[in-house]
Amino acid sequence: MAGNGEIQWCFSQVKGTSDDDVTEADIISCVEFNHSGELLATGDKGGRVVIFQRDPESKQASPRRGEYNVYSTFQSHEAEFDYLKSLEIEEKINKIRWLKRKNPAHFLLSTNDKTIKLWKVSERDKMIDGYNLKDENGRMKDPTSITTLQVPVLKPMELMVEASPRRIFANAHSYHINSISVNSDQETYLSADDLRINLWHLEITDQSFNIVDIKPTNMEELTEVITAAEFHPSQCNMFVYSSSKGTIRLCDMRSSALCDHHSKLFEEPEDPTSRSFFSEIISSISDVKFSNNGRYMISRDYLSVKVWDLNMDSKPVECYHVHEYLRSKLCSLYENDCIFDKFECCWNGTDSCVITGSYNNFFRVFDRNTKRDVTLEASREIAKARTVLRPRKVGTGGKRKRDEIGVDCLDFSRKILHTAWHPQENIIAVAATNNLYIFQEKL
């Protein structure tokens, strides 16, 4: 896998229909590779989870291709109604997190605003044939008609992938769940809503520990909400949570049962000269992710991705601008609500690159080593055989070069909020509204 040198990305696959009229239920709301990269799960606004599996042929082929086929589809969550508060509970899947593999089955956690479910996805390719008491259709045989005994045998059958809900963790959150994160101990996980973070055990569904509570006694004093939370990838006692005010708090569960007091507070001091009316809104962190090695973390605010060293909380070690040309357009973005979009960000397997999305179906890949970045577009036009993606550029000056697109020509309804990077290879999955694009490194 290439770590140095620039990666050239080319189109591999696109999933979903190409209709211009998008059913809202088909809009993808989360994308997640599992730990081996063999499976890719997507959740949509209709509460469904679709799992793709790496095509084994494409893996063996030379050059290696990154192709995925549908493996399983199931309805994870349904819309509900909270009668007490007269509020609808959307079935939109907010997050999917995979558990590490312990047996032939796959386990994943999926959550909507209120309920988390543990799903078991397993294969069945054998069936039992030759029961003594039951006939082929499953009906009980008349005992008097049985004259001989036979030993049931396993017969191969067509591969079937079954998804069954194993645990349902409900009624623990008053506010909307925005994150879930599985602990490195693979036994517990956290779920975070706007004001609280709960710690669960995967086996226990009727109780959870509240470990963070930032709800003030007087709601009038509420100034910030929790926007994302994640467990450390190797230290089972540490987790971080980010806020709408642009702060990230690292907490250690060993220090106290209630982790309201952070161990470290990561906040970049605001530049007083650049303070504007929108400063606080654009500083709101929409996603935070630990690096695979556990030494760094990235935070995504509206205009940039920042890399933080866990040992240094005074300022980020790196800052990458995603779409700085939008800084002068914040007023309009506030008017059309785009300023509140929650973009996610993602590391690659070796922590050398970071990917995040933008508008106009653009996404950005930053190489931390070479300090180079590229803007690419996920569009149907490039959905041709192994097209190498051409870097896109947004023109800001008066004179626009030939290939550039002007800021005012950007389509703000086509945005890429969710991206995922294969943990071991250079394959990326990019969710563009209702389509899932899979790009791979040109080999």
Partner: protein, 306 residues
């Protein structure tokens, strides 16, 4: 950007005489007249956002002109909500629902105060109390056409959400102080001033088409569609495991390796497993209908969000 400005003509609170841009307030009455110039009060419900179910509901965020306010504004009063991301405001409003009982009892209290203030016996039109010069002057008789100034106690908390309202609550007494002046009821409607009826009786239900109901319609349509096909059979208990074909839009795939559009092999789910799947009713099957939302999802730069 300022397309949605709605000017609200409101009386300035009594203490605001002479105040220009200094927004330090000594009482809890809001400075609507000053905010008026540059605020755009959106509709309480932004239909597109609610129907789309976008959690970042900006029901109450008033837009402030950046140049007008200095940071000192935010620190001067704890009552005025300093500008915070929409989710915070949303939570504050939703919290109001939890204290319905408290508000109901408070409302009763305020209602009784209203009634008292409306009864004429309590009115004193003694001008000598208002004029501190020439106390010897006999009280001038007010002409009948003079507007009456009647000062009721601050009606900041006189509303309580109707429990019968479905859907998201769109005003809460504890937070939307900017709206309290709309409850400043003038008992004798003045010809020179607009009177503001309380908006409590308006039910916002009609304003907002519920996405939930839209979705339900979709589900019902799906069920009706599938009567003839195997999806319906899926729910009937028979011994034979029926194979159900589930197609999902994501099954449509365009791969670069094979340039023909590839449909992944249809997912088959045996009937007994399908029963164990949660929410097996209405699960995706046999193609999709586009749901008529009637909602515009575009948010180009030139479009107004409201």
């Amino acid at each position: 950007m300022k397309k949605n400005c709605r000017r609200m003509d409101v009386d300035p609170p009594s203490t605001s005489v002479g105040i220009t841009s200094n927004l330090k307030r000594s009482n809890s009455a809001p400075m609507i007249n000053i905010l008026d110039n540059n605020t755009s009060f959106r509709d309480a419900i932004s239909p597109s956002h609610l129907v789309l179910g976008i959690s970042r509901n900006r029901r109450f965020s008033a837009s402030f002109s950046p140049g007008q306010y200095s940071p000192s504004l935010h620190s001067s009063s704890s009552l005025m909500p300093s500008f915070v991301p929409s989710r915070v405001i949303q939570l504050k409003h939703e919290e109001g629902m939890n204290v319905m009982y408290r508000e109901a009892s408070h409302e009763k209290e305020v209602q009784s105060k209203l009634q008292i203030s409306q009864s004429w016996e309590d009115l004193t039109l003694d001008r000598t109390t208002h004029i501190n010069n020439t106390p010897s002057e006999p009280a001038k008789r007010h002409s009948l056409t003079d507007p009456l100034h009647i000062f009721t106690p601050p009606l900041g908390l006189c509303s309580s959400p109707s429990p019968t309202r479905a859907g998201k609550q769109w005003f809460s007494p504890s937070t939307s102080l900017l709206r309290t002046s709309s409850f400043f009821v003038s008992p004798s409607p003045s010809p020179t001033r607009r009177s503001f009826a309380t908006r409590r009786s308006q039910s916002p239900v009609a304003l907002r088409p519920s996405q939930f109901s839209v979705k339900r319609k979709y589900d019902i349509e799906m069920e009706q569609d599938s009567i003839g096909n195997s999806a319906k059979r899926m729910n009937m208990g028979t011994g034979t495991p029926e194979r159900v074909v589930i197609t999902h839009p994501m099954a449509h795939s365009l791969s670069s390796s094979s340039m023909d559009p590839v449909n992944s092999p249809d997912q088959t789910v045996p009937q007994d497993i399908a029963d164990s799947m949660s929410g097996s009713s209405g699960s995706p099957c046999s193609g999709f209908k586009s749901v008529e939302d009637g909602v515009s999802t575009g948010c180009g730069m030139d479009e107004s969000a409201v």
